[in-house]
């Protein structure tokens, strides 16, 4: 057993060896032998140091976990997750808008296959192929919200000051709940909800849509339990819980969840995260507003609704095999690709309450809720709706949601709910027939997760999309 010396011990020993003077009255060894012995001892010490001291560096890399083990570090970790959330949102919302009737795909060049075209025509098989061997464009960013929060939460719990610790935890759990809700509304059943646990990847079993919503509700309940002293994050969690419960068809519980959310509440992403709804990067290719897309699509452009502002632009554009001139509605809801996007709001809370009233067979409350929004949530106020009658109340409900929540990632969940909770036929909800590019719309009602990616690492994922 080699005794371990401290660096100071070793240093002093080396200094003594190298500075030892000859002793008077003693036989002095030849200089060469002295040097040999000293070299040997110093070498031996160096070897010993090799086992203990030399292989130590103070800062092996720029930022280590220990650097963040303080109050400021805890907040920086939380904000890191928020920045991840902001970045993840933009991608998912853009893809959802294309897949639904909210946005039209356009191109300067014909037959140049892009993922936008595949999404807009719902060519999910080609979409799978397009992303084979690379990251999932929707599941990936949304999972990153989960994994980043899982990595950050232990440090936040350990190092955040007590007065904000629960607030931070509630915030991140609310964002986690959002990610799960958005996955469930967007992706076909059978997707995994992978995560990081104990610092290592955790691979989940496949989730059905409803089981994912219930997982989201449980996650949001954690946020609500932790965030008792943070109104902002509580309201975020409340709206998201109401959204998940609405998706589950548990309308009464949904209304109950959002009851305390004020109508003027909003939770937005931050500016500067590059939302894909603005065409400023290439003026010839604006992000076109959908307009009765595939017949069943809503008239987002032609309705001239102030909630979906757009401008009519005429330009040469190539849509079929021949060169044609065409015109498009360029969206104006987002002024630039740096504009913030609303994630949850009091408007959505009232819409959840309205849908709950509708399903509770209370058309008066339903209509009151919708008109209340027209009074207070937009300026100038919009004309009040009148009861269209029981046959089209659901249509009115979902149109109101579509216009209020335009380009916020809600539309695909709504369209799927129309099919699964309101028993509508697919072709009455989704665009069908022939796309302006001359390509038929596909039959898919949800965006597939990329099977090759999900199954490569997750042994539980052995099949692709399950039937809806």
């Amino acid at each position: 057993m080699i005794p371990m010396l401290s660096p100071s011990d070793m240093t002093s020993m080396i200094v003594r060896l190298l500075t030892r003077h000859r002793s008077h009255g003693r036989t002095v060894r030849p200089a060469s032998r002295r040097l040999i012995s000293r070299t040997t001892v110093v070498g031996a010490i160096a070897l010993t140091m090799g086992c203990s001291g030399l292989l130590t560096v103070t800062d092996p890399t720029l930022v280590q976990d220990s650097d963040l083990a303080n109050a400021a570090g805890a907040n920086a970790r939380r904000l890191g997750v928020v920045s991840q959330f902001d970045a993840s949102i933009s991608t998912a919302f853009g893809q959802i808008a294309l897949f639904t009737d909210e946005r039209m795909y356009d191109t300067q060049f014909p037959l140049s296959v892009t993922v936008n075209q595949l999404l807009d025509t719902r060519d999910t098989a080609a979409f799978q192929t397009y992303y084979a061997g690379s990251n999932d464009p929707i599941l990936g960013p949304l999972t990153r919200i989960l994994s980043s929060s899982s990595v950050a939460l232990p440090g936040i719990r350990a190092d955040a000051p007590a007065n904000v610790r629960n607030e931070y935890v509630a915030h991140l759990y609310a964002l986690r709940g959002f990610a799960i809700v958005q996955m469930a509304e967007t992706l076909c059943p059978g997707f995994p909800i992978n995560d990081i646990r104990d610092g290592a990847p955790y691979y989940s079993m496949p989730f059905s849509t409803d089981s994912a919503f219930r997982y989201a509700v449980a996650t949001l309940d954690t946020a609500l339990a932790a965030g008792h002293d943070s109104t902002r994050f509580l309201n975020l969690a409340r709206v998201l819980k109401g959204r998940a419960l609405t998706d589950l068809g548990e309308w009464a519980l949904a209304a109950q969840a959002v009851a305390e959310v004020p109508t003027d509440f909003t939770y937005q992403t931050d500016e500067g995260y590059g939302i894909p709804f603005d065409g400023s990067t290439f003026p010839r290719q604006p992000q076109a507003v959908g307009n009765r897309d595939g017949g069943a699509g809503l008239p987002f452009a032609s309705a001239n609704d102030p909630r979906v502002p757009s401008v009519f632009v005429q330009m040469r554009i190539h849509r079929t095999a021949d060169t044609v001139s065409d015109s498009l509605h360029k969206q104006l809801k987002y002024e630039s690709n740096q504009s913030p996007v609303t994630v949850a709001s009091g408007v959505e809370a009232r819409l959840i309450e309205a849908e709950a009233a509708l399903n509770a067979n209370d058309p008066t409350t339903w209509l009151t809720k919708l008109n209340e929004l027209r009074d207070v949530a937009i300026a100038p106020v919009m004309p009040h709706l009148v009861d269209p009658g029981s046959a089209t109340r659901v249509d009115t409900m979902f149109k109101e949601r579509a216009f209020w929540l335009y380009l916020t990632g809600h539309r695909l969940g709504d369209m799927r709910r129309l099919i699964h909770k309101y028993n509508r036929a697919v072709n009455t909800v989704y665009p069908s027939g022939t796309h302006p590019l001359g390509i038929p719309y596909g039959p898919a009602t949800s965006i597939p997760f990329i099977f090759s990616n999900a199954s490569q690492y997750n042994p539980h994922i052995t099949k692709g999309c399950a039937p809806e």
């Binding site: 292989l55 130590t56 904000l79």
Partner: protein, 1118 residues
């Protein structure tokens, strides 16, 4: 000189008259048993004394001399009593030896110098009673030039006595027992000479040796991790470059030039073409790693030399230091090739095991010039150069002129066939030749010639006890980039300025100034210590040259600048990038031989390489939205090295043993800070004046410690068996990793020394060799610890500090483990043909590959990959002519390397034309889709106009080849005439079997290809311009290049003696040199050798040909 040599009790005894001997022969002397060298002896007797005695006794006179010399002179009173005197001596400033000689003249007394430099006067009878030995001396000469060979190793009786020749090529052995002896002389670059001699008692035998030039000789000595070793003992091949003579006689501006095309298996990829101080990438035996540094490590005088900022960047990956536009300078340019004595290239794990982590890529061992005792020797050189950019392969560009059919407005760009016939937005009026960057006299961006200067001087000398070498150099080069006069005027007009700055007119310049110093001293009789220090200051301007070329290519005066895609901007020429780097390195090395068979060495080294890069474009004065940018980027790289070693060598009987143990410690630290800023104050490019700044910091710190033991067993000096073991630890290894030993074994068998082969006619040397070795390549800190991004960003409603993990750590990380088996043979036939053949097989397992862990989960690095490789290398040197006044040699070097990724574990494989990772394919594989045809059917007629929808493209990415040349061939003939005073040498390179993206940078990226406008152009050409996909331009890059040519003349002495202005040159040589003289290739781009670099080696040609360099070098020794 009538000298007598006397030996007694390990002392050298000389007649007193030796004191007057010239100090020029202080080296190159050895005696059989004396621990005191001749140089030491001479040094003490050369002490200056002043004596003024009148009629005193011999004893008093000796005392007076001793007092003046400040030494103690011992004598026996009895011996002196017979010579009472009187003695008279009036002498000022004479040597101690001369003074004693005069005092002892006529006596039988002699001077004896004893160990410890004690001087004794003794009776000659006493001394001579033990002297029955003789001596050997002579000259070692170059057979071709008849010039003395400095530093040649002369051995007597199989390494029993070893000396090196002096500056005048002389050597001397003292006190050699009478009888027959074997004298063996060897020197790098020459065939060894062995001769039996007979030494007579008390006589000096003169033996002059003439060495013939040769490449492969087994008795050359190379520097290994355990010290100097003879090549014959090694089981692996080591390539050696004799830089000392090569730099003077070949067109070499840098270490990069020195390495290029001289070592089979070493690829020097100079991708930056005509950029002064540009990038260069080294690969030894291919690339056997995916995510770690693939370059060989560089050791200078035993100290690790950082060649680039490898540990920067993101994640655990290499993070090439891509700061600012242009091509980064390879740090090997920091070493002045004129300071180098030899370069040894150690290839592969089997050879480099003892060099520690990261040596799996091979090792380049650079030994700088060592001080030589003797008269002070000055040398200086001047090397004016002309850097010439070849224009013969310049891509011709075209410009279409048209008008808008609706508005009638001029359309000076984008009037392509698609715009004409698909969008109907342009009607073509005419097509003109566009200005090219190379050929146009007015709009040229590239000058045909640019000047360069290299100057240097060195001084060396000293006595044996203390020797020194000092050198300094200055290097100034201007790249090929200049503004043509019309373009310069256009920029003045556009920018509203009267004079363009030098930075605009010459965006690429390089200035180096450096110095190197070495001081060596003997410590006692058994030790030596050396101190080296070097300094290099580099100022490198490398503005966005390739961007500027593209600007010029798209530039047409009067064009419509309002259209989308028209991005020519005069203002962009105001942007500059300059780097200022200063490098300090130094080392202390000590050697101690406590016993004749035991040598201890210690090396402590430090390498400091800080640099500052500034890049900026001032805000526009007219455009309020054009606010400019500035970058301030700083790097500080520190590498510390400590090597301790102990080697024991014994020769009991027919066997020899060489046992080495050692310890190596390497510490590397990189600190980087980037500040990028915009919204600049008017006229400023300072980041401090910016309205918006962002900061990015880099940091990495690693330390590794390794220890090794090696045993070399020799049998009759013919068969050598080597076995070694090394074990390493590193701070970047995973916490769970337990270091494991890396073994190495080797065998070298000199068949030609076996009795059976000795008499085979024509067989001078024949050796078989084989080795097996394993080596590691350690991960980076980021791979082990994971990575977190930090920064101030706008989040949650305000700008705040965030930290976000971007990569998980891996506590179980292990080093990549490479192992290699090598077989080979070396042969010398008829003393005219030297052949070396080597086969090798590599496998590198535990490859650190990037595992994504599924969508949204953080990636990690894991040890999961496996790469195999094998190859063949051959060198042959044939002396075709060897007559008294002419000698012609031809050297051929060939290498072929193939590798393959055998396993990628769970890492994601990918295919691209920029580098792929696909199991079953080589490293650097290029995959791409291709245009397979054009269906000219749109509109129902074959109109010979290609529309996008008519292009038929293979949608599958298919393997197209590798992006680095796996097969290389160099042929280098040399001719020496008139006794070597006139020398002609040249070299041709051929590289084949690789692909490069060809003409894309020529016209496609600039939109000036004729096929874009001309409906008569071939359909495939039209299709390629429409898709504008650089993958379509992948093409074979095979080429042959006339790499070097030199004519060297030694100025005859009769001309030197003319000396009308009293320069007093003793030697002078003149060289006319050319580099990259001609290119032969079917490649359709500008230069297949000029490519951008990345880990796998991007195959994109960069638009500038390799610079043709003409130089005129003068070397002078005063």
């Amino acid at each position: 000189m009538n000298s007598r040599v006397v030996v007694g009790f390990a002392a050298v005894i000389l007649g007193a008259h030796l004191g007057a001997r010239s100090a020029t022969a202080q080296q190159g002397v050895a005696s059989a048993t004396s621990p005191i060298t001749m140089a030491e002896h001479d040094a003490i007797l050369a002490r200056r004394v002043t004596v003024d005695v009148e009629r005193v006794s011999v004893r008093r006179a000796i005392d007076a001399i001793a007092a003046s010399a400040r030494i103690r002179i011992q004598y026996e009173a009895n011996a002196l009593s017979a010579y009472a005197g009187p003695v008279t001596l009036h002498a000022a400033d004479i040597s101690l030896g001369a003074a004693l000689e005069r005092v002892l003249s006529g006596t039988r007394l002699r001077v004896v110098v004893l160990p410890g430099l004690r001087v004794t006067v003794a009776a000659a009878d006493d001394a001579e009673s033990v002297v029955m030995n003789g001596g050997v001396s002579g000259h070692v000469l170059n057979a071709t030039t008849k010039q003395p060979i400095v530093g040649a190793t002369v051995m007597l009786d199989d390494s029993t006595h070893v000396v090196r020749t002096n500056t005048d090529g002389t050597y001397r052995f003292l006190n050699i027992a009478a009888g027959p002896h074997r004298l063996l002389v060897r020197s790098v670059g020459f065939a060894r000479q062995s001769r039996m001699i007979t030494v007579s008692d008390d006589q000096t035998t003169t033996v002059d040796i003439v060495l013939e030039s040769s490449v492969n000789t087994l008795d050359q000595v190379v520097v290994t991790a355990t010290g100097e070793q003879r090549i014959r003992e090694l089981g692996h091949v080591v390539a050696q470059i004799n830089a000392d003579s090569l730099v003077q006689n070949a067109p070499i501006s840098s270490v990069i030039d020195l390495l290029q095309s001289r070592v089979p298996g070493l690829q020097v990829l100079t991708g930056s073409g005509g950029v002064a101080g540009g990038n260069a990438t080294l690969r030894l035996r291919g690339q056997s790693t995916v995510n770690l540094d693939p370059e060989p490590i560089v050791i200078v005088d035993g100290v690790r030399f950082a060649t680039k900022n490898l540990v920067g960047g993101s994640g655990g990956s290499l993070g090439y230091d891509n700061r600012g536009p242009g091509q980064e300078r390879n740090w090997l340019y920091d070493i002045n090739p004129n300071d180098i004595e030899t370069v040894e290239v150690v290839k592969g794990p089997s050879a480099s095991t003892l060099y520690g982590p990261d040596a799996a890529n091979g090792v380049i061992v650079i030994t700088t010039k060592r001080p030589t005792a003797g008269n002070t020797e000055f040398k200086w050189y001047a090397r004016p150069m002309a850097n010439e950019e070849p224009t013969t392969r310049a891509a011709r560009g075209y410009q279409a002129w048209g008008h808008d059919p609706n508005t009638g407005e001029l359309v000076a760009s984008n009037c392509t066939l698609v715009y004409q016939y698909a969008y109907h937005v342009c009607v073509l009026d005419s097509i003109t030749v566009a200005p090219t960057v190379l050929q146009d006299p007015l709009y040229s961006m590239v000058s045909t010639t640019s000047p360069g200067w290299q100057y240097g001087a060195s001084v060396s000398g000293g006595v044996q006890a203390v020797r020194y070498f000092l050198s300094g150099n200055y290097d100034s080069q201007t790249g090929a980039m200049h503004l043509g006069p019309a373009l310069a005027q256009y920029l003045k007009d556009q920018l509203g300025i009267g004079t363009l700055s030098d930075a605009i007119r010459n965006p690429n310049t390089l200035r180096d100034i450096g110095g190197h110093a070495t001081l060596s001293a003997d410590v006692g009789s058994r030790g030596s210590i050396g101190v080296t220090a070097g300094y290099m200051q580099t100022d490198h301007r490398r503005s966005d040259m390739f961007g500027a070329i593209n600007q010029v290519q798209t530039f047409t005066p009067g064009r419509d600048t309002s259209r989308v895609g028209d991005w020519f901007s005069a203002r962009s020429f105001l942007g500059t990038t300059t780097e200022s780097a200063s490098r300090v390195d130094g080392s202390i090395n000590a050697t101690y031989r406590p016993l004749t068979w035991l040598t201890g060495t210690a090396v402590f080294g430090l390498d400091l390489a800080p640099s500052i890069l500034h890049s900026g474009l001032p805000a526009a004065t007219t455009d309020p939205y054009d606010l400019g940018y500035a970058v301030d980027s700083r790097r500080s790289v520190v590498a510390r090295t400590m090597n301790l070693g102990l080697t024991a060598a014994t020769h009991p009987g027919l066997l020899s043993f060489r046992t080495s143990v050692g310890l190596q410690y390497i510490y590397q630290h990189m600190d980087g800070l980037d500040v990028t800023a915009d919204n600049l104050a008017p006229g400023s490019i300072l980041v401090s004046t910016a309205g918006h700044q962002s900061v990015y910091q880099l940091w990495s710190e690693t330390a590794s410690l390794g220890t090794y033991v090696e045993e070399v067993l020799g049998v009759r000096d013919r068969l050598f068996l080597t076995g070694s073991l090394r074990i390493d630890g590193s701070t970047s290894y995973g916490d769970d990793y337990h270091p494991t030993p890396f073994p190495k074994v080797g065998v070298s068998w000199i068949l030609s020394d076996e009795p059976l082969f000795r008499d085979i006619p024509g067989l001078s040397e024949l050796r078989l060799r084989s080795s097996y070795g394993a080596s590691s390549r350690h991960p980076t800190s980021g791979m082990k610890l994971g990575q977190q991004y930090g920064g101030a960003v706008y989040v949650d409603g305000s700008t705040q500090t965030v930290f976000l993990r971007s990569q998980l750590g891996n506590p179980a990380l292990r080093p990549e483990r490479g192992r290699e088996t090598e077989y080979g043979m070396d042969a010398t036939l008829f003393s005219r043909v030297n052949v070396g053949l080597t086969w090798y097989d590599q496998r590198t397992r535990d490859q650190l590959l990037y595992v994504q862990n599924g969508a949204g989960l953080y990636p990690t690095y894991e040890n999961i990959g496996l790469i195999s490789g094998h190859g063949f290398e051959a060198t042959a040197t044939v002396t075709a002519v060897n007559v008294p006044n002419a000698r012609a040699d031809i050297t051929v070097a060939y290498s072929h390397h193939t590798d393959k990724l055998l396993d990628a574990g769970s890492a994601r494989q990918y295919k691209s034309s920029y580098g792929s990772l696909v199991v079953g394919y080589p490293m650097g594989a290029a995959f791409a889709t291709t245009i397979t045809g054009v269906a000219d059917t749109v509109g129902g007629v074959a109109d010979h106009i290609v529309f996008p929808e008519e292009i038929i493209r293979d949608t599958v990415l298919r393997y197209r080849g590798v992006m680095y040349p796996p097969r290389t061939l160099t042929v280098a003939p040399t001719l020496a005439l008139f006794g070597g005073r006139l020398r002609l040498s040249t070299a041709f390179d051929r590289q084949t079997d690789f692909v490069v993206k060809g003409n894309y940078q020529g016209c496609a990226s600039a939109g000036t290809c004729l096929a874009a406008f001309d409906k008569d152009a071939p359909l495939l050409a039209q299709a390629m311009t429409i898709t504008n996909n650089d993958d379509d331009f992948l093409a074979p890059g095979d080429f042959t290049r006339w790499r070097e040519a030199t004519v060297s003349v030694d100025v005859p002495q009769r001309f030197l003696r003319l000396d009308p202005i009293h320069l007093r040159f003793s030697q002078a040589s003149i060289n006319v040199q050319g580099r990259n003289l001609r290119l032969w290739t079917h490649f359709n781009g500008i230069d297949p050798e000029s490519r951008t670099d990345n880990l796998f080696r991007d195959s994109m040609a960069n638009g500038l040909a390799q610079t043709r360099v003409w130089s005129f070098r003068v070397d002078v020794t005063p």
